[in-house]
Symmetry: C2
Subunit: 397 residues, 2 copies
């Protein structure tokens, strides 16, 4: 893997880069659509060819359980299995160790305020489906409740079998409700696992390390220093990003200040319009996020600032709302995707109300087109030295 | 509408024809995919453009309830609403008057033995959602339980608003468990409604009449004579086709013998491989059937006689079966559709097991391709005078 910085923004830390992999080049900043179980939900091969994402992310946890890494290896690896010949990155299953473990217990995501109106832990006890110790993560499969153990070595071995173009070291992702002491102890585990992953790593797949440390400055700095001294090809920022967006940006600033410039930085699991602009500005190169297709499947449609999108409405609206019943306009009047060229809001609303599968396809296509196109515009803006100008247009209040 | 017979098979009653409509020509025998709620389930615009069906069928009952005929009219009619510029036929809602009424009470479909192992009515009482009398069908909406009344005049009016290329007169579809006396009384109603539909019909949309009469020879003959003397543009064969395939073929023979040659004959709701061959042989020109996509969504994959399909396995197999877990072959090794070109059984099985939306898309595409391609082959065979030769290849025992 090669990473080249093509241009640095003069007023911010934003940068334009290029990652070269055997299966293709990736222009950064890049948004990576997620194909959790070896399929971008609701998208056909043809849709993906048109949308033309530069790289997809697949999920070690789900694929190791179903259909299993050995089967995918036998089928020639993920690219052949899912018929996708451009780059793929696989995660390490570290996020599922969190989301099925403390995430479940704390009823939270990566940012504490993520679940609206749930700033406190719910009182009811929840069974954790992932337990973690210094040696392994113990998963109870969401499919058949079987117990599976995942070690750093196994995570690497599985990702080798999957044959992704970029793989990620196993880490422990802490919760916004994890204490300083827990986070500190957990960080030692993540660092020891980082070393074990490097040791176990035998292929020439680029390997990314993950920086943890929760919302604690000294721990994040310690982690950034530690991970960046190991022989990783890129750095992921994972785990709790605090309880507010403001805190998230602080955390990212602490980390970026300590990372070398010559390797790509991937902010795991983040991808709203607002976050993309603000964290690209901080120097992030790579994003993966399930939000655009997941929101699409729930009927939330992205629309541009030109069409009424803003920070407050999160650049999205609910197509199932009765006010779109007779609306002849496309999903976003300022979008030139094929869905916006061919269909009205009234028709797509009808498909959602009727639970027609085409609804999920059309809304997903539009939302992915929207976000991929936005990233293209951001790259162009950085190239022209107009990143802040573009950001201002979108994020004006 | 024009209907031209291009060639008659010498050994059977099979015929090659052409229907000319303002939105396009249709070569018969034709299989009509069903877009019940203004969408062929799981198919994108691009998929449909590739599959290239000659005509689609939409459903008056479902569309009048949601999103409503007035809304579709406001949006410019079905073609504009769903973005499909080739012909559309709408049914009259007569079938739903049966399936939500006596079909529900008798727990049956158009052929009595359709529900395997259910030759008797179930003992539990079932609420009928459709009641019928000489004046109207009373529907309890499956969406909001509201009561709607449909008269022959209203059915025509709705189909006018939907702007289909071919519309169908409202009829009463009887059950395989309806008595002679009920069927006789019902037939009078269907005939009186046929006349009312012709009277109410004000546009130049071609209007098809429906022949009823259940499994009773004198009633079917009476109906064929009555309907064919009215000024209809084509004839549908509807209602109970008896309790066995043998009976179905007898019923069709009684009817066809009495129909004029110069108008198309549509066998409503029938479409297995076996039935297509056998009823085309009897002189049927048009078919609509939800089976290929519905079976696809349940994981039943069509395959040709060359790949092991036969009457016994109904030319289909269950992709979720564990024996396909590591199968690198395409769904049908003798199919050249894009799904068979690009994906393995192992991958598609994985998608089904993981409930990925792509599963329904790929399986539906393949099954529709299969059936549309089969119809093309049948038309070619009739043209070359080789219909029976092709039928023998497929239906050999």
């Amino acid at each position: 893997m090669k990473f080249k910085i093509i241009k640095k923004d003069k007023k911010t830390k934003a940068r334009l880069g290029e990652i070269t992999l055997p299966n293709g080049k990736i222009k950064t900043p890049v948004f990576i659509p997620v194909a959790t179980k070896a399929s971008v939900k609701a998208m056909s091969k043809h849709d993906l060819e048109e949308l033309n994402p530069q790289i997809l992310m697949c999920n070690t946890y789900h694929l190791m359980l179903r259909p299993g890494a050995d089967l995918i290896k036998k089928m020639g690896g993920l690219h052949k299995f899912m018929n996708w010949n451009k780059p793929i990155i696989t995660d390490s299953a570290g996020f599922q160790a969190f989301s099925l473990g403390y995430g479940k217990e704390h009823f939270t995501g990566k940012i504490g305020s993520y679940f609206v109106g749930r700033k406190k832990k719910p009182k009811a006890e929840v069974e954790k489906l992932a337990l973690i110790n210094d040696n392994f993560v113990q998963f109870k499969s969401i499919y058949d409740e079987k117990i599976k153990h995942l070690t750093p070595e196994k995570s690497i071995k599985i990702q080798e079998k999957l044959k992704a173009d970029i793989i990620i070291a196993l880490d422990e992702c802490t919760s916004p409700f994890s204490s300083y002491n827990y986070t500190k102890k957990s960080l030692e585990r993540t660092h020891s696992w980082a070393k074990r992953c490097i040791k176990a790593h035998k292929t020439n797949q680029p390997l990314f390390g993950v920086i943890q440390g929760g919302e604690y400055k000294d721990l994040r700095q310690k982690s950034a220093n530690f991970i960046s001294k190991l022989n990783f090809d890129g750095y992921c920022i994972g785990g709790s990003l605090g309880k507010t967006k403001k805190k998230m940006h602080k955390i990212i600033d602490w980390i970026i200040a300590l990372l070398p410039e010559n390797k790509p930085r991937h902010l795991l699991g983040i991808g709203t319009v607002e976050d993309l602009f603000n964290t690209i500005e901080q120097g992030i190169d790579m994003f993966d996020c399930v939000a655009p297709p997941r929101l699409a499947r729930s009927g939330y449609i992205y629309f541009s600032y030109k069409s009424g999108g803003n920070i407050k409405n999160k650049f999205r609206y609910r197509i199932k709302n009765s006010k779109y019943e007779k609306d002849k306009k496309p999903l976003d009047p300022n979008c030139d995707c094929k869905v916006c060229k061919h269909y009205t809001r009234a028709y797509i609303r009808h498909l959602f109300k009727s639970k027609e599968l085409l609804a999920y396809n059309l809304a997903t296509y539009h939302n992915l087109y929207f976000i991929l196109r936005l990233m293209e515009d951001i790259r162009k803006a950085i190239k022209k030295g107009e990143f802040l100008k573009l950001k201002k247009k979108w994020l004006k209040k």
